[in-house]
């Protein structure tokens, strides 16, 4: 058990922990006491645990540095979850927290030895190693992969519930600090609906933990006003992740993802501490001013016992005063500035605190944690002075949190005077206020927030625009305001000075990379991998630009920035995926199929019965008796109006003008490249009403294709209506089909009254149906289209009526065998993205003498030149051998096997007891029935023979009984 009281202070005003309750969680096996409201990091800090992780490359010890989720130094594994930011994640009872990528333990990490060989591991070293011998590279790679990565994925991670919520708001305010709160209030007062997003449990921003400047005056309780205002909805614990076109934002709260369409967006995202680069600048115990104040004020934890405060602004002195008031002894304050530039600050310190003006830190010293710092004057080259202490507070400047402004395509430029990258040109509907826009005094932040709120309301037309005089006045107020950020980014030294904490990149590495030719900011990033780690440049991007500018002799502005990419903060795949929504289409008979032994198969978005246990038996039932299949998945389109025949003539290769009422015709549809797009039968139900079926997969696409031609210029007097789901459809097929159907209707079903390729409206068992006599299976068959609601009833009446005739349901597999026995093609299987109907053995359907139709020009060419390749039937020399679909047809030549075609369909035919199939062959070979060729099967060439026409009932007599 770790002693929880070691660094816990007396209750602090405004702290967010509940001291009355405690619970424990484990860190590296040891129990840690925490209060509700503690994060993992605050509880560990209270228990005096300084080292939480090890760095990626040199495995250097790392601890809490920013306490704001921006740096990578507190990444831990929490149960199944890798790469958790300990400083942002609330501690919970019985959490199992472990350090990542360390062995055997955090304290004694074996990989720390790499630090000794850093001389041999300069920037880009992996490009210069493991080159020879090439064969050894896989072995080296396996070693590299074992030491790579941080957290672990548990293959047995249990599922969890995630969801998403769309939001619509006039004004979205990102950041609930002083500027954000005043902006929200100002916009709401103009009548806008406002959504305010803040990543912390309570809004208030830096006012929650920072000691306000003396001239800030009493701090109005804006958070309470915002929460009370009817026009404002506050979303706490919600991190805005991205901003895309037309103010489309995303944000996360726990397992919920918000997708927000905002009329206007105000970014009041504040700023966070910018690191200073010096020797051992990432030693545990080096903490930013923000981190020290958060630990102190929010969690009542001493950031250290004896503090050395390194600063360049009056804020550093307020932090020293705050630490001192909480019982932390401040041993020294080191300020870059001359005393003349500081405010009246030095009086606040305890007597024995040492003050250094025009000084900075040269190095952090200590084994595994801070034991002191080397301080040196800026204007003289003298030996640094060591000062003992266990806490180094770095408060030399701020980086505006402008990631979302960059994403919103804001033009941001470097302000030399204030040493910060500030917004210069904001896109329409995007506004910025507060520390992200360079305001560093309480009053200015509030004023800029109010102004942004009124500008946003004006942009939405809810209020007049604020006068430009007010805008220029505020700009003057900001320019005169206090400067927080030092222009100095680094202090030369003799040990390692880390610019990028995620990837362990030092300033020397950058200098070497630039010398090697990687002298643009983007090339520098890709070669050194700087800013490519978990913090995505929050800690290192600004400093890298300064160093790159220095070594390339360019200005900071010329150096430019790397592209800021979403998401602003890492977000889990579970949150991004949300609730699992994968649409699935079920026919009206779905439940019946599953209850009657059907093996279901995926067919596009549909689920269909593939078989009912024995496909050959199902084939036999259709050939000898009668079978019933559910074909409800077919596309069904209704064409109405006098313009229908012309339209059909234009989109099909067939002719339709003279198709009589009550007749049905098989049609093939092509595009203007002459490629087969779809096929199906079309029935003329009346003078001006047609009923077209399409393949299951083509249903939606063909409707859109027809609408395209209708609405873009070919629209005669015709409507196309998608009625695919209005009717279910079954195919009653087999020699006894008529007998079965006759039991459900007293209509005359004999050939003369109801011939092949005709359509009739029949009442079956009291249900009005449309029935077509077509022959995909090659037997006498009736395709019954009945209202979907009555499908279950009609299906069961058909099965009842068919029981005496040995009726059996059959699935897609049996249907594929039956159609193959008739050599009928399946578009999309026997044809692909280059097949035309003439080559696919459907020349009979192509009526080239028609007026203009889709595909006419290329098909005339194919008809004239003759197809190069043709789709034909084949049988095998050894009848028992069934070549898998997709096998290649190969002609042995001197230069080795030459591919001349491939097998598109193949089955063993139970009816003919031999192998049958369809394949593509060169036209000359395909034109000779009986000609032989070879299919490559398991490395051997197996002989096959060309077969023309259907394998079964070539004359089609059985269709017309």
């Amino acid at each position: 058990m770790l002693n929880n009281a070691l660094y816990r202070l007396e209750p602090q005003a405004g702290e967010t922990i509940d001291r009355a309750q405690t619970f424990t969680f484990t860190f590296e096996g040891r129990a840690v006491i925490a209060h509700p409201g503690d994060t993992i990091a605050s509880a560990l800090a209270a228990a005096g645990v300084h080292v939480i992780s090890r760095s990626f490359k040199y495995h250097r010890p790392r601890g809490v540095m920013c306490m704001a989720g921006h740096c990578p130094n507190c990444l831990v594994q929490v149960g199944d979850e890798p790469n958790v930011r300990a400083c942002q994640t609330p501690a919970e009872p019985d959490m199992v927290v472990k350090p990542q990528n360390v062995w055997p333990s955090l304290k004694k990490d074996a990989m720390a030895f790499t630090g000794l060989f850093s001389r041999f591991m300069p920037v880009g070293f992996y490009y210069k190693t493991f080159i020879r011998p090439q064969a050894m590279w896989p072995l080296f790679e396996r070693i590299l992969r074992r030491i790579a990565g941080l957290g672990k994925v548990n293959p047995a991670t249990p599922p969890d519930r995630y969801d998403k919520q769309y939001l619509h708001t006039d004004v979205a305010v990102v950041g609930g600090g002083p500027a954000g709160l005043s902006a929200a209030l100002a916009a709401a007062e103009q009548g806008a609906t406002v959504s305010l997003f803040d990543e912390n449990p309570q809004p208030g921003g830096h006012w929650r933990y920072a000691l306000p400047a003396p001239d800030d005056g009493p701090l109005p309780d804006l958070a309470a006003q915002a929460e009370a205002h009817p026009g404002i909805t506050v979303y706490p614990e919600t991190t805005v992740l991205s901003c895309y076109e037309d103010n489309w934002l995303s944000a996360r709260r726990g397992n919920r993802l918000f997708k927000i369409r905002a009329g206007a967006v105000i970014f009041a995202t504040g700023a966070y501490d910018r690191p200073l680069i010096f020797d051992n600048d990432e030693l545990p115990g080096v903490r930013f001013g923000g981190a020290a104040q958060r630990l102190l004020r929010l969690y009542g934890v001493q950031p250290g016992k004896r503090a050395i405060v390194v600063t360049a602004n009056d804020g550093g002195w307020r932090i020293a005063a705050g630490l001192q008031a909480a019982g932390v002894s401040v041993v020294a304050v080191v300020d870059e500035r001359p005393e003349s530039e500081a405010g009246a600050v030095s009086h606040v310190l305890q007597a024995d605190a040492r003050v250094f003006w025009r000084h900075t830190i040269r190095a952090a010293r200590g084994a595994g944690a801070v034991e002191g710092a080397d301080i040196a004057p800026l204007d003289a080259q003298v030996r640094p002075q060591f000062i003992a202490g266990d806490l180094i507070v770095i408060n030399i400047g701020l980086t505006p949190a402008n990631g979302l402004l960059y994403q919103a395509q804001t033009k941001i430029s470097y302000n030399e005077d204030r040493a910060e990258f500030l917004p210069e040109t904001l896109p329409a509907g995007v506004f910025a206020a507060g520390r992200v826009a360079g305001s560093h005094a309480g009053a200015t932040e509030l004023a800029e927030g109010r102004l942004a709120g009124r500008q946003a309301a004006a942009f939405l037309g809810l209020a007049p625009a604020p006068p430009s005089a007010e805008i220029t006045a505020l700009a003057g107020q900001k320019a005169a305001g206090p400067k927080r950020s030092s222009a100095r980014v680094d202090v030369p030294g003799s040990q390692k000075r880390f610019v990028c904490f995620c990837e362990d990149v030092t300033d020397k590495d950058l200098e070497t990379a630039i010398a090697e030719g990687f002298d643009s900011i983007e090339l520098l990033k890709r070669y050194s991998t700087i800013s490519m780690g978990p913090c995505q440049g929050k800690m290192c991007a600004a400093n890298t630009i300064h160093l790159c500018a220095r070594h390339t002799g360019q200005s900071v502005a010329q150096t430019g920035t790397t592209t800021a990419r979403p998401p602003l903060a890492p977000v889990s795949l579970g949150v991004l995926a949300g609730q699992n929504m994968e649409p699935v289409k079920r026919t009206a008979l779905d439940a019946w199929h599953r209850a009657n032994g059907a093996g279901m198969m995926v067919a596009g978005l549909w689920m269909r019965p593939e078989h009912y246990g024995n496909p050959p038996a199902e084939v036999q039932a259709v050939r000898e008796r009668v079978g019933l299949i559910d074909v409800s998945t077919l596309g069904k389109l209704q064409l109405t109006g006098p313009g229908a025949p012309d339209f059909l003539d234009r989109i099909y290769v067939n002719k339709w003008q003279k198709l009589g009422v009550g007749r049905v015709r098989y049609g093939v549809m092509c595009n203007d490249e002459g490629v087969v797009m779809n096929d199906g039968v079309t029935a003329r139900l009346s003078e001006t009403t047609w009923y077209t079926t399409t393949t299951s997969s083509g249903a939606g696409a063909i409707f859109e294709w027809m609408q395209w031609w209708l609405q873009s210029g070919w629209g005669g007097e015709v409507h196309v209506t998608n009625i695919s789901e209005v009717n279910a459809a079954f195919n009653l097929a087999g020699p006894r089909a008529r007998a079965v159907l006759q039991k459900l209707t007293d209509a005359d079903l004999l050939n003369e009254a109801f011939p092949y390729m005709h359509v009739r409206h029949l009442t079956l068992a009291g249900v009005a149906c449309m029935v077509m006599r077509i022959g995909f299976t090659g037997e006498l068959s009736y395709e019954i289209h009945c209202p979907t609601g009555a499908a279950h009833y009609v299906w069961e009446r058909l099965l009842d009526a068919g029981r005496d005739f040995g009726i059996a349901p059959f699935g897609v597999e049996a249907q594929r065998i039956l159609r193959l026995e008739k050599a009928h093609i399946i578009v999309g299987q026997d044809t692909d993205a280059l097949s035309d109907p003439i080559s696919a053995d459907m020349a009979w359907a192509v009526k080239l003498d028609k007026a203009d139709f889709l595909g006419q020009r290329p098909l005339r060419q194919v008809a004239q030149d003759g197809p190069a390749q043709r789709l034909v039937g084949f049988t095998m020399a050894r009848p028992g051998l069934v070549p898998d679909e997709g096998l290649q047809i190969v002609r042995p030549t001197a230069a080795g096997p030459e591919i001349i075609g491939w097998v598109t369909s193949s089955r063993h035919s139970p009816t003919l007891n031999q192998t049958i199939g369809l394949c593509w062959l060169p036209a000359p070979l395909a034109g000779q029935p009986g000609a032989t060729f070879t299919i490559r099967m398991n490395g051997k060439l197996e002989e096959a023979r060309v077969h023309h026409g259907p394998f079964y009932d070539p004359q089609g007599d059985r269709l017309r009984i």
Binding site: E245, W248, E673, G713, R857
Partner: protein, 96 residues
């Protein structure tokens, strides 16, 4: 996610629509044009870096095919309108 102003339904997320490609009218008499013009229609593309006239289909909505003028660099949509000469929602005749 850009907003596309469907002439019938008003502004909607682009995910509701299907892109129909740059405006590329089919030759009035395909058999009469030479191979170069036919190849240009079938395969070649202006693929403009700038404001492009293109087709969109409101697949999840009212199933209207309509034209848009969008800058292909910023994805900013300048205007949308129907092809045929019939009144759209605002009553203004949108003539192609």
């Amino acid at each position: 996610m850009i907003l596309l102003n469907c002439p019938n339904c008003g502004p909607r997320n682009v995910q509701e629509f299907r892109f129909g490609g740059e405006h590329n009218p089919r030759p009035a008499a395909p058999l009469a044009v030479d191979n170069a013009e036919w190849t240009d229609y079938l395969f070649l593309k202006a693929n403009k870096l700038g404001v492009q006239k293109e087709w969109w289909y409101h697949r999840a909505g009212c199933r209207l095919w309509f034209l848009a003028e969008r800058h292909t660099q910023s994805n900013q949509v300048l205007k949308t309108y129907c092809w045929t000469a019939r009144p759209n929602r605002e009553g203004e005749t949108c003539v192609e």
